[in-house]
């Protein structure tokens, strides 16, 4: 038995008075805000893990008088549902985080891009937004937020596709560079942060960077909100300290028969039982935007893989060939192997194709299909073939 335990944290959902926090922050120099967030080593909580403080500093150094703050609430990764809970429980803190970012980079306008599946939250969010705007007026701070809705496209969670969508176009990712901090929404310097990241920035400004760094590891500071689902008696949303091993996670959340954990959703990695002990959940091991799916021994990993490939085939925007055709061929390929029309060697070809997609696809969608594909095929080859 491991002597370490999964540590529960209560920072994200802690109820705080946003007015008090904002009152203080409006008197802090923009650069000092960037520095505090930089010092905290906070990394983006949407999955990619870019240092938040660096994003803010880059945008703050841009000379353009028009800049935007965008909150990415297009939570579409299979197995992720924590941002909905954060928006539902502490919406004021999300807006507060956007105001802090706005102050740090000198932005006057912000957007929340909420996935269409969460439209039912809109009436409540609009009420909270009205209260937030009142606070902004009270402090004579010129910052306004508008909520925009997605319409059922997973790819719009990709930052540049999200900008395209707000601009009224097809949600097709752009080439990078330029990065959003130089040319983002409407071609203007833009900070785009995940819902949870913004709330973390509020707590960092409230309690200080040092407090935030007390939790986690060197590469993965702080805590993270996890969305736990699949074969578990404790499905739900949990804020946990980063840096635990998959084994520790499974001891806490497994049903006693866990054979694999999919960390990071369909675009993440499948960790088999034999690697539970050595695999760290965090940026030094398997990174995650929060999605943790447990599978027990009754589950066919072929079905899991097939489900993910079906998902990607539908959600690929179709713009670049490696992703559009690659997703289709991977799906057809595993079906052919399963039916016995192709022999097991063909799986090696498919793994090569997934690697090509990683190198040649334009955005994170096509680049990460190979994560789940490679890790499931490698660890559960027999289940894919027979």
């Amino acid at each position: 038995m491991s002597d370490k335990h999964v540590k529960r944290v209560d920072l994200i959902f802690e109820k705080v008075e946003c007015r008090d926090i904002l009152k203080e922050i409006m008197n802090i120099e923009a650069d000092a805000i960037c520095q505090e967030v930089l010092d905290s080593d906070l990394k983006g909580r949407g999955g990619a893990g870019f240092p938040t403080g660096m994003k803010w500093r880059f945008a703050s150094q841009e000379k353009d008088p028009i800049k935007y703050i965008v909150c990415n609430a297009d939570e579409g990764e299979p197995g992720t549902f924590k941002d909905r809970e954060i928006l539902d429980q502490v919406p004021g803190k999300v807006f507060c985080g956007m105001a802090i970012a706005a102050k740090a980079v000198g932005a006057k306008y912000g957007y929340v891009y909420l996935r269409g599946e969460y439209k039912f939250l809109i009436p409540m969010l609009n009420e909270e937004l009205a209260k937030f705007h009142q606070i902004m007026d009270e402090f004579n701070h010129n910052f306004r937020i508008e909520i925009r809705l997605g319409s059922g496209a997973y790819i719009c969670g990709e930052e540049s596709a999200l900008f395209e969508s707000i601009e009224g176009k097809r949600g097709e990712p752009r080439n990078k560079p330029p990065y959003p901090t130089t040319s983002g929404l409407f071609g203007k310097p833009t900070v785009i942060n995940n819902v949870e990241t913004l709330v973390h920035s509020v707590m960092i400004m409230k309690y200080g960077a040092a407090h935030f760094k007390e939790l986690g590891t060197k590469d993965s500071r702080g805590s993270k909100v996890f969305s736990v689902s699949g074969d578990t008696p404790k499905a739900g949303i949990f804020e946990l300290e980063l840096g635990m091993s998959v084994n520790e996670f499974v001891e806490e959340f497994g049903d006693g028969d866990t054979k694999a954990v999919q960390v990071g959703g369909a675009s993440g990695f499948c960790v088999p039982r034999k690697r539970f002990e050595e695999t760290i959940i965090g940026f030094e091991g398997v990174p995650t935007g929060g999605s943790m799916k447990l599978f027990n021994s009754t589950r066919s990993m072929y079905n899991v893989l097939h489900n993910y490939l079906d998902f990607f085939t539908e959600e690929s925007c179709g713009q670049c060939t490696p992703c559009r055709v690659g997703c289709q061929q991977l799906l057809k390929g595993v079906e052919a192997v399963k039916r016995g029309e192709k022999n097991s060697k063909y799986l090696d070809e498919l793994v090569k194709l997934a690697k090509t997609m990683k190198r040649a696809s334009k955005c994170g969608l096509g680049q990460s299909v190979g994560n789940a594909f490679g890790s499931i095929v490698e660890n559960f080859t027999e289940e894919i073939i027979y």
Binding site: F120, G152, G168, S227, V228, A266, K293, N303, N307, Y308
Partner: protein, 156 residues
Amino acid sequence: METIIENELVKDLANKHGRTRESLIPILQDLVVRNRFLSKQDMVDVARELDISAADVFGTATFYTFLDTEVRGKYIIRICKTISCAMKGKNDILSTIEDILKIKLGETSSDRKFSLLEANCIGWCHKAPAMLINDTPYTELTPEKVTEVLRDYIRK
């Protein structure tokens, strides 16, 4: 000369959201709220109102799953088919609904009251299986529970 019939709804929505390109999706979303889908005529009218090409409107609409361009019912049922829901009995829920509404997946009832569709992950994996009816999520579904839910909608 072709006479242009004023589309009051499209005009109202353009007045509300604006006539720039960034107004396009909010306008299309509101049209879907009103009519449950986007007709060809509505898309042409939106293009005229915003002074952009109809191809741009059609191209944008067809990119987004929720901006339907096919006739849909008053109540659109979207059952989540992604892994957690698939593992927790999504197929039983689907066949229960098919039996009750006498339509198959992808179809719309002849009275245009219901459409039955699947969706990719709708974000309720911890309470799977789940579905949306228009904007309202229903979770932890069982055949009994979904029968109950549908009974209310059938009466509406």
